[in-house]
């Protein structure tokens, strides 16, 4: 091969490899983005039905119910305006507490219950998951605007 051809081959294979990688990356990116919705948004029907997403807010006091058998648990997540019921099977994180912030990832069932496959509460007792904080802030702002138009 002449040097010019060699360089062309090198450049062409480089571009081809990059194109394939870019396609691969963007495709994976697209299908793995997880969006966040607050309980108010879910109540307003903005959340998708067929796709996994995250919700966040406070665990409503007195709402945590463990089943007598197995590890399933139900609780209510609230942004102080709207509530959403969450079902989960498994061990809850150390810092999961009633009245504290929580973020859950999963799918919305036809019964309106959010079936979580992952529950996150973060590492510090003073720390509020930012997504949960955001949900509560948004809901309270919305309520204020309703009260004082």
């Amino acid at each position: 091969m002449k040097p010019r051809h060699k360089r062309l081959a090198l450049i062409a294979s480089g571009i081809a490899a990059l194109a394939i990688t870019a396609a691969l990356v963007l495709n994976a990116f697209q299908s793995n983005l997880v969006f966040f919705f607050s309980p108010s948004q879910v109540a307003a029907g903005e959340a998708p039905r067929d796709r996994s997403f995250r919700i966040g807010g406070l665990v409503q006091a007195g709402s945590v119910k463990r089943s007598q058998e197995g590890l399933s648990v139900q609780f209510v997540v609230t942004d102080t305006a709207k509530d959403i019921r969450v079902a989960y099977a498994g061990t809850l994180p150390d810092l999961f507490r009633e009245g504290k912030g929580v973020v859950a990832q999963g799918k919305l069932g036809a019964d309106g219950v959010f079936h979580a496959n992952e529950v996150l509460a973060k590492h510090d007792e003073n720390y509020m998951p930012p997504d949960a904080q955001h949900a509560v802030d948004q809901a309270q702002k919305a309520q204020k605007t309703l009260r004082n138009p």
Partner: protein, 654 residues
């Protein structure tokens, strides 16, 4: 008083750092030898000052001086001494001080070891390091002073975050920071080379050990962090693609690329510009990592900072360093001429492919880590990118990389024929295909991913073996192998370490079993051919926490092997609960048990994992680091120093 002395030392260190940054660089421009000669003593003075400041803070922790705000926030008189001392870097301010101490240490090492380099190069390198140090000194003094006093002295400190009260966390941050900060030397050398427009084999040979040393520390730091996450977080995972982990992984990927491109630049004088760009990128990513972790834009256990001024300050610092070095690169890089040609199939191409793959892998991690932050910052909604994205993207990128790792050493510089390469490695290929197909059956069940992973592992191992054998044959028998340079063995050891790591990743992923169940006293659970029986739960006091300890008997075929004692701790000062997993480690499998929460009626939720070969992940990382150490010990670098000394002397005479 001691704290004020520490504060004072830091202020002095800032002044010295400014002088260390400005004088030698100005001396290099104006050709003033006396200004240049200021570099070394300044570096030494700065190290002493920062070390004194660090010692002052450590003293405040050891003495439980809660009048220092930082100590009050991160320590407690009931905390054992070793954790009080590691609490020095348990928070934002102290870990920055550690950053600066290590930077001063690396600078001092450059000053001490740079005898043979031309004075102007030494002056520029130490000067650049001085400017970086000055930026961080200003950051710590203006936004995050660790010596700030409290007007009302609390009787007791708030305690160190219980997650950080662990042996792994004593060593993880210093190791990681040694790596991060170590890349500043490669960076400063690159800037000095750009400023002089001279980049020869001697420069590359001099940069190599520094880069390798930083890489060794970073490798160990990441591995320690990963192992800590495995045993401490109680979820049995070892890598979460958490933004903070990614922040340390990105410089590692680019640093690995840099090590390989430096080899090409030294041996063949090509890819010079690319090497410079990698050196700049590696350090920029280290700074970005510091920014991500320290600015509070991320919210995880690592993000201590909540003060927005800090984020802005460090962002400005980041933009200044990266911007200035990229502008310098744009202006000066065209002057750096690469010599030599190479064929489409040659060792140069293999190393270039390694570089491209690592850079692309780094870019995908970058996208997944920063895109959610960017979207959030623009107010366009809240999203997250989870492990599935990284796994689907990163895995396929590693397959060609691992394949080429095996071939690279077999290729000759400049030109190799494909036929020759195939002839040399066909045995290895046949062996790897056979083994890759057969081994999964031997392990229980066939899975294409495990087969592919094991094929790559066997391929690397067999190719390495063939390479060593042919080297022995070419140099006159096995005894001649002992005379091979240390860096030769270092390379092979690091590549084998990578293979070992892949075994751990693939096999543990492919054959792990996870069980999460409700267990009451006397219940048994079968997992991976073992049986676990909950004997009971009992209360156990700790120095600064109370714990509930589960007694779980691990047995196989009715024979008791070990009693596992997972704990659930509650720390007094923070009332924070913590899960301590119990692990029975082994070369071919780990049994991992952690207890969740009480479910009422004496029952607890219990998580158990059977993880085959998982320890190989960290064993592999350790081998990689050892490979780096071996390469560092190569005589060649010391001979090169002597040779350079001779040539400088001759130059002086001429």
């Amino acid at each position: 008083m001691i704290a004020e002395l520490g504060h004072f030392c830091l202020i002095l260190a800032l002044c010295v750092a400014l002088a260390q940054g400005v004088l030698p660089l100005a001396g290099a421009v104006r050709g003033n030898a006396r200004w240049l000669a200021f570099a070394r003593p300044a570096a030494a003075t700065q190290f002493v000052l920062v070390a004194l400041a660090f010692a002052a803070l450590a003293w405040a922790f050891a003495q439980n001086d809660f009048s220092v705000a930082y100590v009050a926030q991160h320590s407690n008189s009931r905390l054992p001494l070793e954790y009080r001392l590691s609490a020095v870097w348990g928070g934002h301010e102290g870990s920055l001080l550690l950053w600066i101490l290590l930077l001063a240490g690396w600078t001092l090492a450059v000053a001490l070891a740079s005898g043979p380099l031309p004075e102007i190069m030494v002056g520029r390198t130490i000067g650049v390091l001085g400017l970086v140090a000055a930026g961080f000194h200003a950051f710590i003094l203006f936004t995050s002073n660790p010596f700030e006093r409290l007007l009302q002295v609390p009787a007791e400190g708030r305690d160190l975050n219980p997650l950080l009260q662990d042996v792994g966390l004593i060593f993880h941050p210093p190791m990681l920071y040694m790596g991060y900060v170590g890349f500043s030397v490669a960076f400063a050398l690159a800037i000095a080379a750009l400023a002089s427009g001279r980049l020869d084999a001697a420069w590359a040979r001099w940069s190599r050990p520094w880069t390798t040393a930083a890489w060794v520390f970073l490798t160990l730091g990441i591995a320690l962090g990963s192992y800590w996450a495995y045993y401490e977080l109680g979820w049995g995972g070892w890598w979460f693609w958490d933004p903070v982990e990614n922040a340390s992984f990105m410089p590692w990927l680019i640093g690995t690329a840099l090590i390989h491109s430096l080899a090409v630049t030294e041996k063949r004088g090509v890819l010079k510009n690319w090497t410079l760009l990698l050196a700049i990128t590696a350090f920029s990513l280290s700074l970005l990592g510091t920014f991500l972790v320290r600015s509070g834009v991320l919210t995880s256990v690592h993000a201590f900072a909540t003060d927005p001024r800090r984020g802005v300050f460090i962002l400005v610092l980041l933009v200044l360093v990266i911007g200035a070095s990229l502008i310098l690169y744009a202006v000066r890089a065209p002057r750096v001429v690469s010599g030599g040609e190479f064929d489409l199939v040659s060792r140069e191409t293999f190393l270039l492919a390694n570089n491209v793959l690592l850079a692309v892998a780094c870019a995908t991690v970058f996208l997944g880590t920063l895109y959610p932050l960017a979207v959030d910052a623009l107010g366009a909604g809240k999203i997250s990118v989870g492990p599935p994205y990284f796994n689907t993207v990163f895995g396929p990128l590693m397959v060609p990389l691992l394949f080429l790792v095996a071939l690279g050493p077999h290729a000759s510089w400049r030109s190799t024929s494909v036929a020759e390469l195939a002839r040399r490695t066909r045995l290895a290929f046949a062996f790897a295909v056979g083994g890759g197909l057969a081994l999964p059956f031997a392990m229980g069940s066939f899975s294409p991913l495990v087969a592919l992973g094991l094929f790559l592992v066997l391929w690397i191992t067999a190719c390495t073996f063939l390479h060593v054998r042919s080297r022995a044959a070419a140099s006159g028998g096995a005894p001649a192998l002992l005379r091979q340079p240390a860096s030769y063995w270092g390379m092979h050891l690091a590549h084998l370490g990578l293979a070992v790591c892949v075994v751990g990743v693939v096999v543990s992923k492919g054959y792990e079993t996870e069980k999460e169940v409700r267990m009451a006293q006397g219940d048994t659970l079968a997992i991976g051919g073992y049986s676990l029986r909950l004997v009971g739960m009992r209360e156990a006091p700790g120095p600064n926490y109370s714990a509930v300890v589960g007694e779980i008997e691990l047995s196989r075929d009715g024979k008791l092997l070990k009693v596992l004692r997972p704990e659930k701790r509650t720390y007094f000062s923070s009332q924070m609960p913590m899960t301590e997993a119990a692990i029975d480690p082994g070369l071919t499998r780990d049994i991992y048990v952690s207890i969740g929460e009480p479910l009422g009626g004496g029952a607890w939720s219990v998580r158990a994992y059977y993880k085959p070969f998982i320890i190989w992940i960290w064993g592999g990382a350790l081998l990689m680091a050892l490979g780096g150490l071996l390469a560092l010990s190569d005589q060649r670098y010391r001979r090169a120093r002597a040779a350079a000394q001779a040539s400088t002397l001759q130059g002086a005479k001429a």
